[in-house]
């Protein structure tokens, strides 16, 4: 994965899911977890979620909002939006290349 995802190690993929989830608007931890589970089809553990949130927040890709009750929502920053868009563009190119190469072989 490209910078800065490559440097996130095992948190790279969860981080991308979180950024995509927050692209739809601010969410708190539980809402992110359920949304990511819906997007990816597999659950994300709380330790992984907060490991990724801490990294994204430190890199300025997301920011914490004022807590509501005990739940603190997070939202995407401008840098986060640019980063996730670049990452998805890159993945889109990868997917298109893969599909076009597979094209001749499908059903053949």
């Amino acid at each position: 994965m490209n910078q800065p995802f490559g440097e996130l190690g095992r948190f790279a993929e969860p981080s991308l899911y979180i950024l995509v989830s927050l692209s739809g608007g601010p969410k708190h931890g539980y809402a992110i977890m359920t949304d990511v589970e819906e997007i990816s089809g597999s659950p994300m553990g709380p330790g992984t979620l907060y490991g990724a949130l801490a990294r994204l927040e430190r890199r300025g890709l997301i920011e914490a909002l004022e807590p509501v009750d005990r739940r603190r929502p997070y939202r995407l920053t401008g840098l986060g939006a640019t980063t996730v868009r670049a990452q998805l563009d890159s993945l889109g190119g990868f997917v298109r290349t893969g599909l076009s190469r597979l094209g001749g072989k499908i059903g053949g």
Partner: protein
């Protein structure tokens, strides 16, 4: 559940504990989640992300080693000033302090500066080989120069790790290595009025130990995380033309 959360470092808990517990109250954790939390706690200790994170105690070990090494070195050579030849009884502490100095530069630091460290070890090896040559002015000067480079290199690496800037590092090198050598060698070679038998001349090596005490203190107080940790400031992603 709160017991598991206590596995996380204090700074992490100060920042995330409240919302983390709120999340767990909304979604009772499965066994897999508990394992994930333990992994998360280990990660939070190894890769602290919170800005207020105090240095883990393990980050202070290199500084303490450097400090102890510097104190041992200084004690030995101060003894040569005050008790002269009786101080030879402490001479065994010198190689031990050198080992501790070397051990204060472990882990990722070794990897990041591996080339310089290998060169320094090569120079030390060269010194040992040269020391076994039949004595001559050339081999003596080459051996001494090699040792000075190795000692100066070791101190420079520690100073980099302690976060001392280039000007501070040069000042340390001049005061702890260059100046004592510039004064000591002419005296030891009998070029001054003092006999080379006067063992107090070895007291000129005290500043080297004091420099390590200073560097060690700074490393211990600041903590000495790995140099491969990422900078705190975010970087803009590369923008490619569509």
């Amino acid at each position: 559940m709160t017991r598991l959360v206590r596995l996380y470092p204090r700074a992490w808990r100060d920042r995330y504990e409240e919302e983390f517990l709120a999340l767990l109250s909304e979604r009772p954790p499965t066994f897999g989640d508990l394992v994930d939390m333990v992994r998360g706690a280990v990660d939070a200790h190894l890769n602290p992300q919170a800005d207020s994170e105090p240095s883990p105690w393990t980050h202070r070990i290199p500084g303490l080693l450097a400090l102890i090494a510097g104190a041992m070195w200084s004690t030995v050579f101060l003894a040569f000033v005050f008790v002269q030849n009786d101080a030879w009884a402490l001479a065994g502490l010198v190689p031990l302090s050198l080992v501790l100095m070397f051990l204060s530069l472990p882990g990722d630091y070794m990897a990041a500066h591996g080339r310089r460290i290998v060169i320094a070890l090569g120079v030390v090896g060269l010194c040992i080989v040269i020391a076994n040559f039949p004595y001559s002015g050339v081999t003596a000067v080459a051996g001494i120069a090699g040792c000075l480079i190795a000692l100066g290199g070791l101190l420079t690496l520690a100073a980099i790790r302690a976060g001392i800037g280039p000007s501070g590092r040069w000042l340390l090198l001049v005061l702890a290595v260059v100046l004592p050598a510039a004064i000591g060698f002419p005296v030891a070679l009998g070029l001054g009025n003092i006999s080379e038998e006067e063992s107090w001349v070895l007291g000129l090596l005290v500043p080297y130990g004091l420099a390590w005490v200073l560097v060690g203190l700074r490393m211990a107080v600041r903590g000495s995380p790995t140099l491969t940790e990422l900078p705190a400031s975010p970087t803009e992603p590369e923008v490619r033309p569509a």
